[in-house]
Amino acid sequence: MNRVAITGMGIVSSLGDSQRDVHAAFCEGRSGLRPVTRFESTGVPCCLAGPVTDFDEKKYLPGRNLRPLDRLARLATSAVKLALEATGWTPELLRASEAGLALGTMFGAVHTVGEFDRGTVINGPGSASPLDFANTVLNAAAGQAAIWHGLTGINSTLTTGATAGLDAIGYATDLIRSGRAAVIVAGGVEEFSLEPVYAFERSGLLCGSHGDDPLPVPFHARRNGLAPGEGAAFVVLEDLDYALAGGRPVLAEIRGHASTLDTSGGRDGKLSVEAMARAIHIALRDAGCGPDEIDCLSASANGSVTADGREACAVACALGSRAARLPVTAVKSMLGDTLGASGAMQLIDLVETLRQGTLPGIPNLDEVDAGFPLPMAGPESRELDARIGLVNSVGAHGSCCSLVVALRK
C-alpha cells in the first residue's frame, strides 16, 4: 500500500487566503463572522455568517475568461490554484502525472441551479442560457477546475453532507494508496447563498434562531446553533515516493481515515454517537495508531445543540482515557460551518498546528457542562508539541468522517 503525502495546501476563507494567515487568526481568536442581512427581502432574517466578502478571483485566476465559472467554481478553482502553486506544478507536469481531482460539497451549485430555474419560471424556458445550464450539474465546479488547471485524471465530486470535504480527501487517499493515481487534488467547497441559509434557518439550526445570543460556541453549555460559512480548501495528495522523487516538500502524511453513517439520520442519539465513535475507531485502526498516540483533535463541533454533545461523547467512547487529556480545537467557532469545505479547512489548519506547535483555542468557551468528557477544550490557544492529529467531520443528518494526519518522522 502506497503512503500518502500532503504536498500542497490552498484555502480561500472569510479569514484570508493563506493557511498561515488563517492559522494566525485562529490562534488570536479572531472571527470571520458578521451579521448578514442580504436575504431579508426574501423573508430569511438576518443571521451571523462567514461569507468570503473580499473574494477577488482575478487575483488567483488571471488572464483568462472567468465568465463560464460560477462562484462555486471560482472558489474551488482558486483554492486548487493556491494548493498547486506553492510547489511549482506546471500544466505539463500535471498532465504528465494525470493528476486527478476529488471535490466534496454539500449544497454544491444549488444557487446556480436555483437561479437558472427561477429564471425559467419568470421568463419562460426559452430565456435560459445554455452556458448557465452547464453549471447546473453538480460536478460543474470539479469540471471547471479540471479545465482551468489541466487535471486529466479521475475527476470526482462527492456529496455526503457536511462531511463531503473530508470524505473527498479520504476517497483520494484510498485511490493513491491502491496505486490508482499518483496525484489527486482533494478538498471541498461551499458557497454562501440564500438556499443553505434558508435550509438551516427553517430547521432552527442557526445560532440565535430562538432569540439567544447569536454566537456559535462549540461545546458551550448554552450553545444555541451554528453560523453558516463559505469558502474552499484543497490539499495536493501524492504517493509519498512520487512526491519525494519530484522533490516536492512533504508537509504531512494522511495516515488513515474512515466514514460511517448514522442510519437514523441524526434522530437517534445513541446511534449517532455510535456512528461517530466507529468512524474514529476505524480511522485509528486504518492509521495503525492507538488512542494515546493522538496528540490533538480538530473537532467538528459547530455550536449545534445536539451534535456537539454527541461528538464529545463519541470521542470519549473511541479514545477512552485519552479523551480527558486530549487538546481540542473547533475552528467552526471562527469560520462558521463551511459545510462541504469544513473538513478540508480543519485538516489544513491541523497541519499548520502540527508544524507550528500552536493549537487554536475555542473563543468564548467559558463554560462547559459538568462532567464534560473533553476537559482540555477551552478558550485559550496553547503551545503544543504534537505530531499526530485527528480530524472529525460530522454532518447534521448522520454522516461521519474521521481522519488521522501526521508529520513525517
Binding site: T42, G43, P68, M106, F107, G108, V110, V113, G114, F116, D117, T120, V121, I122, G124, P125, G126, A128, P130, F133, A134, N135, T136, V137, L138, N139, A140, A142, G143, Q144, A146, I147, H149, L151, T152, I154, N155, S156, T157, T159, T160, G161, A164, D167, D174, L175, S178, L194, E195, P196, Y198, R202, S259, T260, L261, D262, T263, S264, H397, S399
Partner: protein, 407 residues
C-alpha cells in the same frame, strides 16, 4: 491484498419495467419507454416526450422509512436496492450492517424540492413554504443516505453526482471499497427523477430529439430525457461463494479520466474517453480482443455518437469493428445519473444470458459511425467480457469492465 469483487444482485426501476426480469424481457423485445411527459408542463417546449417511469408507487418497497419524506430519486433508489437485495437472496436485517454501505450516482439529486422552493421565491411566499421546499431533502447525498437508512446499513456512504457518468463513478467507488476491505457489501448504482432543469437545459442546448432517439443513425436528432434507477449488490467473491449465491458477473476494473477540455463538448479526438477505456482494460488484465460487448454511452446526439465512435476506435484499433456496441438509450432515453448504473445492470445480465440488447430505431447508417451497433434486434452471442461507457458534462469519462465469473 485486493479482493475480487462480484455482482450478486440486480435491481432496476425503468420506463420499460421494474425489476431485472421485466426490464430484461422488455429490453430484449426492443420496447420503448418513451411517452408523452406527464410530470411537468412541457407546453412551452417544442417537444413533449420523455422516458418517464409511469405508475410507480414507492410504498411496497419501504419497511422502515416514510417514502413521502424524500424525493422521487430516493424512492427509485430504495426500490431498486430492495429488488437487488432480493435478487441476491440477502435479507438486509441479517447482514453485518456496519460493514455494509451504499454508493449512488445522480445528476440532479432531488430537484423537486428546489423547484418548489423556487416557485415560492418567485411568488414571494417563502414564509408559507412547508416541507415541499425543504432544501435538506434536495441534497444529492440523501439518495445514498435514504437507501442506507431504509436498509440499516451504517458503513461507507456516498452519493457521487458526476452527472451522466455518475452511476459508473459510484460503482467504481463501491468496487474499491470492497476490494480494499473497507466494506463487505455495497449497494451501488444511480438514480435520477425527471426534472425541469435538465429538461429545459438540454432543450436549450439543442440536444433533445423531438420524437425518437436513434443513436448512431445518420438522422439522429438528439437525446430524450428519462428517469429511473439501478442498484447492483457487490460482494467479495469469497462471501458470495460461501453463501452459494448466484454470481452474475465479476467486476474486472474501471478507468476514469477527465478531458479537462470543455464543460459540454467532448474532446474532438476522443482522447479522454479512449484513456478511460484503455485504463479500464489494462486494470482488468484484458485487451481489446477480449471484449465481447460494449454498452455505449450513445446518447443519440450528433456529437456524442460520432466522438464515442472515434474514441472506441482509438482504444480498440482494428478490434473496434469486430466488437458489438449498442445503446439502450434508444429505448429508455437518457436517464442521467441512473443511465450508467442501468447499463451496468445490462452488462451484468448480458454476460449471464449471452445476449446483448439492440440499438433500436436504427434506420440509416452514418458514414462517420461505422461500427457494429447491433441494429434493431437483440443478439445472441458469447458475452465473456462487457465494457460499459459513460461520459459526462465537465469532461468526466468512465469505463467499467464486467467479466464472466470463473473461479
Amino acid at each position: 491484498m485486493r479482493r475480487r469483487v462480484v455482482v450478486t444482485g440486480v435491481g432496476v426501476v425503468s420506463s420499460i419495467g421494474l425489476g431485472r426480469r421485466q426490464f430484461w424481457a422488455s429490453l430484449m423485445d426492443g420496447r420503448s419507454g418513451i411517452s408523452p411527459v406527464e410530470s411537468m408542463d412541457t407546453s412551452q417546449h417544442g417537444f413533449h416526450r420523455g422516458g418517464e417511469v409511469k405508475g410507480f408507487t414507492p410504498d411496497p418497497w419501504f419497511r422502515r422509512l416514510d417514502a413521502r419524506c424524500m424525493g422521487r430519486a430516493s424512492q427509485f433508489g430504495v426500490a431498486a436496492a430492495r429488488m437487488a437485495l432480493d435478487d441476491a437472496g440477502l435479507d438486509p436485517l441479517e447482514v453485518d450492517a456496519e460493514s455494509a454501505g451504499v454508493a449512488m450516482g445522480t445528476t440532479s439529486g432531488e430537484p423537486e424540492y428546489l423547484c418548489r422552493f423556487d416557485d415560492h421565491v418567485v411568488a414571494g411566499t417563502l414564509d408559507k413554504a412547508g416541507p415541499e421546499a425543504d432544501l435538506f431533502r434536495y441534497l444529492a447525498h440523501t439518495i445514498a443516505a435514504n437507501i442506507a437508512g431504509e436498509m440499516g446499513f451504517g458503513g461507507v456512504n456516498a452519493t457521487i453526482p458526476c452527472a451522466c457518468a455518475a452511476g459508473n463513478y459510484a460503482i467504481a467507488h463501491a468496487f474499491d471499497a470492497i476490494a480494499s476491505g473497507r466494506s463487505d457489501l455495497m449497494l451501488a448504482g444511480g438514480a435520477d427523477a425527471f426534472a425541469r432543469v435538465p429538461y429545459t437545459g438540454f432543450a436549450r442546448l439543442g440536444a433533445v430529439a423531438p420524437e425518437v432517439c436513434r443513436p448512431f443513425d445518420r438522422n439522429r436528432k438528439g437525446m430524450i430525457p428519462g428517469e429511473g434507477a439501478a442498484v447492483l449488490v457487490l460482494e467479495p467473491m469469497e462471501h458470495a461463494l460461501r453463501r452459494g449465491s448466484l454470481i452474475w458477473a465479476e467486476i474486472g476494473g474501471y478507468g476514469l479520466s477527465c478531458d479537462a477540455y470543455h464543460m459540454t463538448s467532448a474532446h474532438p479526438e476522443g482522447a479522454g474517453a479512449a484513456r478511460a477505456m484503455t485504463s479500464a482494460m489494462a486494470r482488468s488484465g484484458i485487451g481489446p480482443d477480449d471484449v465481447s460487448y460494449i454498452s455505449a454511452h450513445g446518447t443519440g446526439t450528433a456529437s456524442n455518437d460520432r466522438l464515442e465512435t472515434i474514441a472506441v476506435k482509438r482504444a480498440f484499433r482494428e478490434s473496434a469493428y469486430r466488437t458489438p456496441i449498442s445503446s439502450i438509450k434508444s429505448m429508455l432515453g437518457h436517464t442521467m445519473g441512473a443511465a450508467s448504473a442501468i447499463e451496468a445492470a445490462v452488462c451484468t445480465v448480458a454476460i449471464h444470458e449471452n445476449r446483448v440488447p439492440a440499438t433500436m430505431n436504427f434506420e440509416e447508417p452514418d458514414p462517420e459511425c461505422d461500427l457494429d451497433y447491433v441494429p434493431n434486434r437483440a443478439r445472441e452471442c458469447d458475452v465473456r467480457v462487457a465494457m460499459s461507457n459513460a461520459f459526462a458534462f465537465g469532461g468526466a469519462n468512465s469505463s467499467l469492465i464486467f467479466k464472466r465469473f470463473e473461479d
